[in-house]
């Protein structure tokens, strides 16, 4: 029973980690479409 709970917690944590990674990847992908402009310099 304890092992099953531990597995459940790990799965949830892994899901959250994957979710964060996917979010970061999507943001990076979006940034390629509109890259930050450095021109003209201030």
């Amino acid at each position: 029973m304890f092992f099953i709970r531990l597995m459940g917690i790990l799965v949830v944590l892994a899901t959250l980690c994957f979710g964060g990674q996917i979010t970061l990847q999507v943001l990076e992908l979006k940034s390629y479409e509109a890259p930050p402009s450095v021109w003209p310099p201030k």
């Binding site: 099953i4 597995m7 459940g8 799965v11 949830v12 892994a14 899901t15 994957f18 979710g19 990674q21 996917i22 990847q25 999507v26 990076e28 992908l29 390629y32 450095v38 021109w39 003209p40 310099p41 201030k42």
Partner: protein, 283 residues
């Protein structure tokens, strides 16, 4: 509990697949972006080198360079790009100046070409005039040669005529001399004849300029004695003027001419002062 766990496991697999797919897409994008950035960096460096490089003999080098490390850093990339823009501005300014100079030069060239065309036209006209003048000169030279020949002939004739004139003058002078001699002889003979004939009309044939001096004055008998006579050319009945220095004071008439002396009557109508010994007589 098992169903919930199963759901999360399935969700976990799905999310892992999505993460793999996203990572794959991002990898492709990164490769593409990296290639683009490298290409841009190389292009920027090439442009900067082209802009700063000299091109003999007209374009001078610009001592300003782009740092490749600075170009690769987003914080300093703008500065390097500003340097590139400055280089481009400088070259553009040079190009503008060159274009302006070129425009001025083209205008001057057009003006010069127009002047050259006018000058060529004037030159052609001048050449034609020169050719015409040369023809006239040749014609005039031919005429001049003919005239010079005529002048030469005329000069020859003139020389002959001058010689003839000289001969004639010499003959005339000779004749004049003979004439003078004959006149003198004639005059002498007339005087001689008058002396023998005692002709008062020939008195005037006495020698011109005959002069003498009064040596005796007799106011009572109204005559004088002169120191010249027939040997000097004096004839009877001749009238001679009496003067004292530059003053004319009277006139006398020869009444008796001897060889070297003569007696003359005083013409009272002519006497302005009493005659004295030493007064001069002149014919």
């Amino acid at each position: 509990m098992g169903k919930v766990l199963r759901f999360f496991v399935i969700l976990l697999f799905l999310m892992a697949a999505a993460a793999v797919w996203l990572e794959y897409t991002l990898f492709q994008r990164r490769v593409e972006r990296k290639t683009s950035v490298q290409t841009l960096e190389k292009a920027v460096m090439d442009i900067a080198q082209t802009l700063t490089a000299p091109k003999e003999p007209y374009i001078e080098a610009i001592d300003q360079k782009i740092s490749q490390n600075g170009l690769m850093n987003s914080a300093t990339m703008g500065t390097q790009l500003r340097v590139l823009e400055t280089l481009a501005d400088n070259r553009y300014e040079q190009l503008f100046t060159t274009k302006d100079d070129l425009k001025k030069t083209q205008d001057e060239l057009s003006k010069t070409q127009a002047e050259l065309a006018q000058t060529k036209q004037d030159l052609d006209t001048a050449r034609k005039e020169i050719a015409s003048l040369n023809e006239r000169i040749t014609q005039k030279e031919t005429e001049l040669a003919g005239l010079q020949q005529k002048i030469g002939a005329i000069e020859t004739q003139m020389a002959e005529l001058n010689r003839t004139i000289e001969d004639r003058k010499a003959q005339i002078a000779k004749i004049e001399a003979e004439k003078t001699e004959i006149n003198d002889e004639n005059q002498r003979l007339e005087v001689e004849l008058a002396r023998y004939l005692n002709d008062p009309n020939i008195v005037k044939q006495m020698p011109k300029g005959l002069s003498g001096k009064i040596v005796v004055v007799n106011p009572d008998w109204n005559f004088v004695v002169l120191d010249i006579g027939t040997q000097e050319g004096l004839v009877n009945n001749a009238y001679m003027l009496v003067h004292r220095a530059d003053q004319l004071i009277g006139r006398v008439r020869i009444t008796n001419a001897q060889a070297h002396m003569a007696i003359a009557d005083i013409q009272n109508d002519w006497v302005s002062a009493p005659l004295q010994e030493g007064d001069r007589v002149l014919y």
